[in-house]
């Protein structure tokens, strides 16, 4: 990375975080959704502790997936509407690097807060010690994948007026591997097995999407604008 690209990266990241701060009320929605879904679950299925404990990893991860989907559009939507995206595409810097800055900002806003509240919600559903630790690790590796893959979907659908449904259809099949390996890791940890394999696969998914997602996302943005 040369100096000015680094500068552009941080400028963009700071801008997105500042914008979120100015719009705090809206930015907190995905987190609120995540907490509400999980808190409401025991009311729906009843106070059976073993049942809740068995379902906890799945419930938490599905809630994380849905809350990511809820906030995905915000990566590019408002910039598309007010013309800032044109300026990004026409900037002399590599668009994929700038896309990465926006995805990173999105993760810090929508993914990172989940990591902070997840242990509490885990305890609330009856999870214990090590499995909570593994839950947080899977969220740490898994939620960036959701943002990265989601960016491709949003870039493809941002030009459409009613892109929401298509976005969900595009993105969810790609989220399923993350869901399977993450919940499996937590369940295995609960039963006392080693989870190295699942975590390695999650890490591979993360590195793969980190390397490969910005390119198609940048290409899709250019297509959405023309």
């Amino acid at each position: 990375m040369n100096h000015s690209l680094t500068q552009a990266f941080w400028t963009l990241l700071r801008r997105d975080l500042l914008l979120t701060y100015r719009n705090r009320a809206q930015a907190i929605n995905p987190l609120l959704f995540f907490v509400l879904v999980i808190v409401l679950f025991p009311f729906g299925v009843g106070p059976d502790a073993t049942l809740l404990k068995a379902m906890a990893p799945g419930v938490i991860w599905v809630a994380a997936l849905l809350s990511a989907l809820l906030s995905l559009e915000s990566i590019f939507r408002s910039d598309f509407d007010d013309g800032f995206l044109e300026q990004l595409v026409l900037s002399p810097h590599s668009l994929s690097a700038l896309v990465l800055a926006k995805v990173f900002a999105h993760w810090m806003i929508s993914g990172f807060p989940l990591l902070v509240v997840a242990p509490l919600l885990g305890v609330f559903l009856g999870m214990q010690g090590e499995s909570i630790e593994v839950l947080v690790i899977t969220l740490l590796i898994g939620t960036p994948v959701l943002s990265l893959i989601g960016a491709i979907g949003v870039a493809l659908t941002v030009g459409l007026r009613q892109g929401g449904v298509i976005l969900a259809l595009l993105v969810f099949p790609l989220y399923i591997p993350v869901l399977i390996f993450a919940t499996n890791a937590v369940q295995m940890a609960e039963s006392g097995f080693s989870v190295t394999a699942q975590l390695s696969i999650l890490a591979a998914l993360f590195l793969l999407s980190l390397a490969l997602a910005p390119l198609p996302a940048a290409a899709a943005l250019k297509m959405s604008l023309s």
Partner: protein, 209 residues
């Protein structure tokens, strides 16, 4: 600024919804020149501008910068081009200065600082004002200030005078003249006659194509 920059387009054709907007359009723009695009509504002015600055691909023909296709990164086109479209890309929730800082961070800063640029467009003292409370004309002027704070040879402007009052029109024409005098080039669409005394003006009327 070096004088060997050139923007050239050959045999350009643009088709929208199976309607040919223009075809076989050829032109070369050199430093100290300004290309003014005229034409009725829907004649393809904005489409041509978006093709020239690389957002859209032409259906036929090509656009070159210094004899190289603009999409080649070696042509250096995007380092030397600034585009202001219908939408100004200004975030309502950021202050004027924050917006301009983002513009500056994305490109190559010029020697003109933010406060000096704002002074030139008549917005001195508005640095810390949220863009939300600016009028349409004032927002337009912020967008124009973003041209001044970055270094570029070519300005591509889509209806830059929209929402500007008479005084700011004159001020901005002045800025454009100054840019051309320093060896810059401008491609602009406008419904109103543009006074560019410093430039060698080329006009294309798309309605006559």
């Amino acid at each position: 600024m070096s004088t060997n920059y050139s923007l050239e387009f050959k045999n350009l054709q643009c088709i929208r919804d199976s309607r040919t907007l223009f075809s076989e359009l050829n032109m070369t723009v050199l430093p100290n020149q300004a290309l003014i695009l005229e034409g009725d509504n829907g004649s393809g002015k904005t489409s041509l501008l978006r093709i020239l600055c690389g957002i859209r691909s032409p259906d036929h023909g090509e656009v070159t910068w210094c004899q190289q296709p603009i999409k080649n990164s070696s042509s250096g086109f995007f380092e030397e081009m600034l585009y202001i479209g219908h939408l100004d890309g200004i975030k309502r929730d950021l202050t004027v200065e924050e917006n301009l800082k983002v513009c500056m961070g994305l490109g190559k800063p010029s020697e003109i600082g933010i406060s000096k640029a704002l002074d030139q467009v008549g917005l001195y003292g508005y640095e810390d004002v949220r863009s939300q409370v600016l009028s349409a004309g004032q927002r337009r002027r912020v967008a124009l200030a973003s041209l001044l704070i970055r270094h570029a040879v070519l300005w591509v402007l889509d209806e830059p005078f929209t929402a500007l009052d008479k005084t700011s029109r004159a001020v901005f024409e002045n800025i454009m003249n100054q840019h051309v005098r320093q060896g810059g080039m401008i491609v602009v669409t406008s419904h109103h006659p543009v006074q560019l005394s410093a430039a060698e003006v080329i006009t294309i009327n798309l309605s006559e194509q």
